[in-house]
Symmetry: C2
């Protein structure tokens, strides 16, 4: 039969993500396309130990029976402490919500605030799946200009006046895709200008704990005196993406609305997953394990930078991230990374064309490289293949 889908489906083809996932299953390809944490950093031993105890006789009901939508109360109490590491103080229990991975926070925020035709602001470029989520709510996505310090505040204010957006979405620390971190001054200005115009902010922070260089910075939420910032974080990159656990904090009225939305979406986050993360934090495993992981990420990032300097054409300009998972680059030459992506795959190497991160389809000369999930040798070999290919393309232009 011919299916009569909802209007939103016409913009949702899932093609980019699907292509990425397919690539990752072919072992001969060196993939810089994903966003996986380093597999060797997944804490197998600790999770095994914790799961065994959680599932022991007389104790397993908490993991296996239904729980409340808001999440396991002792875990939420612990998360109040956890978000203090992002400078967020004075959060009460009713300002917390356990979510099934950070991304669910984007969906719940969208459901809570967006009607068809409403405007959402994003940094230009931003997280691909966030764009897909906003499309699924039929929002109008407007990109805000950005530079090395963060968002262009003048552009932000002008566009707020022009578009009256429902909220601004941003990945303020080690952004996906650029790897960039907003300065403290920029964060304060974002908090202040959005408060001035009663614009909500959705601050997405999956990466800030993966800092292997430089100084940490407090979240935008830490400068929120107005109740307009919702902060989401995730345990996917620092513990395990397979568990699907994250947290949202914000004004209690907004968190209540997001909780009502979550009731309809998945009832509750897996109790077993929640309790594994809870015990992992309680036993003090998180920060020592992150400390052990950081040298691995630093080494891989440095290997990628070295390989870029060695193999890529001089027209390739990149941002040297101080943390996170990604190196972002652009060609100072008319290189079309969309057209060349299938060509790279023929050379057994994969990147993500930067265009997919732009709401307006710009960024044809940009690309994102993930360094976290390949060994140093494969990073060198993969960037070598890419460098050769791009140098050949540059040569054709001359």
């Amino acid at each position: 039969m011919v299916y009569n889908y909802s209007e939103r489906m016409s913009k949702m083809n899932g093609a980019a993500t699907r292509e990425i996932l397919k690539l990752l299953t072919r072992p001969e390809i060196i993939s810089f396309a994903g966003g996986f944490p380093a597999t060797q950093c997944l804490p197998q031993k600790e999770v095994q130990e914790i799961a065994h105890e959680l599932l022991s006789e007389g104790r397993a009901t908490d993991s296996l029976q239904y729980g409340t939508t808001e999440g396991f109360v002792p875990f939420r109490q612990q998360l109040i402490e956890y978000v203090k590491t992002a400078g967020i103080e004075n959060i009460s229990l009713d300002q917390t919500l356990v979510i099934s991975g950070g991304q669910q926070g984007i969906d719940l925020m969208s459901k809570t605030f967006l009607d068809k035709g409403d405007v959402v602001f994003v940094e230009n470029p931003t997280y691909l799946t966030a764009l897909q989520i906003f499309d699924s709510y039929q929002a109008k996505i407007v990109g805000i200009n950005a530079d090395k310090n963060g968002l262009d505040i003048e552009d932000l204010e002008n566009k707020i006046i022009q578009y009256k957006p429902k909220f601004l979405y941003c990945v303020s620390t080690f952004s996906n895709p650029t790897g960039k971190t907003y300065t403290v001054a920029n964060r304060k200005e974002i908090a202040s200008v959005t408060a001035k115009y009663n614009v909500m902010v959705l601050e997405d922070d999956p990466y800030s704990k993966l800092r292997f260089e430089g100084e940490s910075v407090p979240s935008i939420k830490s400068f929120d005196t107005h109740g307009n910032v919702v902060y989401i974080s995730s345990f996917s990159k620092v513990l395990s993406p397979g568990l699907r656990v994250g947290v949202a904090v914000g004004d209690k009225e907004v968190i209540r609305k997001m909780t009502i939305c979550k009731q309809g979406v998945d009832v509750t986050t897996s109790n077993l997953s929640q309790l594994i993360v809870y015990e992992y934090l309680k036993r003090g495993y998180l920060f020592p394990n992150i400390a052990k992981s950081l040298p691995i990420y630093r080494e891989r990032k440095n290997a990628m930078i070295d390989a870029i300097n060695k193999y890529m054409p001089e027209e390739f300009k990149y941002i040297n991230a101080e943390g996170g998972l990604f190196i972002w680059g652009e060609f100072d030459a008319p290189i079309n990374t969309v057209e060349l992506a299938p060509e790279a795959i023929k050379h057994d190497v994969a990147y993500i064309q930067g265009q997919v991160f732009y709401p307006d389809g710009g960024g044809l000369n940009t690309l994102r490289l993930n360094f976290s999930n390949a060994t140093v040798d494969r990073i060198d070999a993969g960037i070598h293949r890419l460098g050769d290919m791009f140098k050949e393309e540059i040569a054709k232009l001359k």
Copy 2:
């Protein structure tokens, strides 16, 4: 600040569910309000054993790393076999999607098909949270009349012609809230009349394996020759609700659209949860454990029926379910179960007012009683309290 929520939030207050959850945390109250499986039937030992092996060295990556949105391939292959127990044959891999609990299937189906103002059909009465989900998509919900055999096919066909619905939602076996099961003839007619008019069906089947009396019946999906039925099932009632794992099967094009929606909703279902269910099925634990659980459910259901016969006023008419979790009843007298629900709580017993299951707010004289999660003694004591209260109310009417 004053928050400017989406229009959908005006209909979503979450009040009924919230009240239910609150009650369940007060131990002095005998609650027939929930829908929990019997805690003693949760397979602690088996899940502990499986989790320990899944999380062992060299094997844990599958559980802890990212996976594809569609779900773990060997699990999906196994689910093709599993749905054969509902009479569903010839399903291919691309017709399966692992979901984070059955309820996520309702959300994904809605996202795939519903625009604001579209019509959804439900049985009158139906699953409360399904109504909330359809409200969240700003659909118009229309109730279809039903009797002891299932849906009123004439009413269904007339309303299809009148309303041109996007889909019909129904819980065809041991319905929530009525406990009723559609006859085989009724299922065939539903498949046939919806196919005739190209109307989709979302068949929600969380309960059919919990049959402790009577003969099993094949799913509506098993009579689908047109590709218009999506079938969802869940492991919440037969294994564990805390894991949040279910399955959707349907036409591959529809499943592909639902998968794209799921990418934006939670990326993927917890890999650890998926793999626990996979191993649980693979090791052949499911059906023997269900067989061990059924006498417990049967005993509790019988205890509730006995207590109803003993304590409730003769004006209370009920449906004697052959499986599932619920007894549905109505008063053949002007008893308002909405007004009396807080009164019952004063007597330390809780039921759900039937009104919340009606899209049009009818059913003021109805109520739902859950028998699965209270012991026989507490069932007797709780129905005794309810019976005394309702008899007193009936006496006031005379």
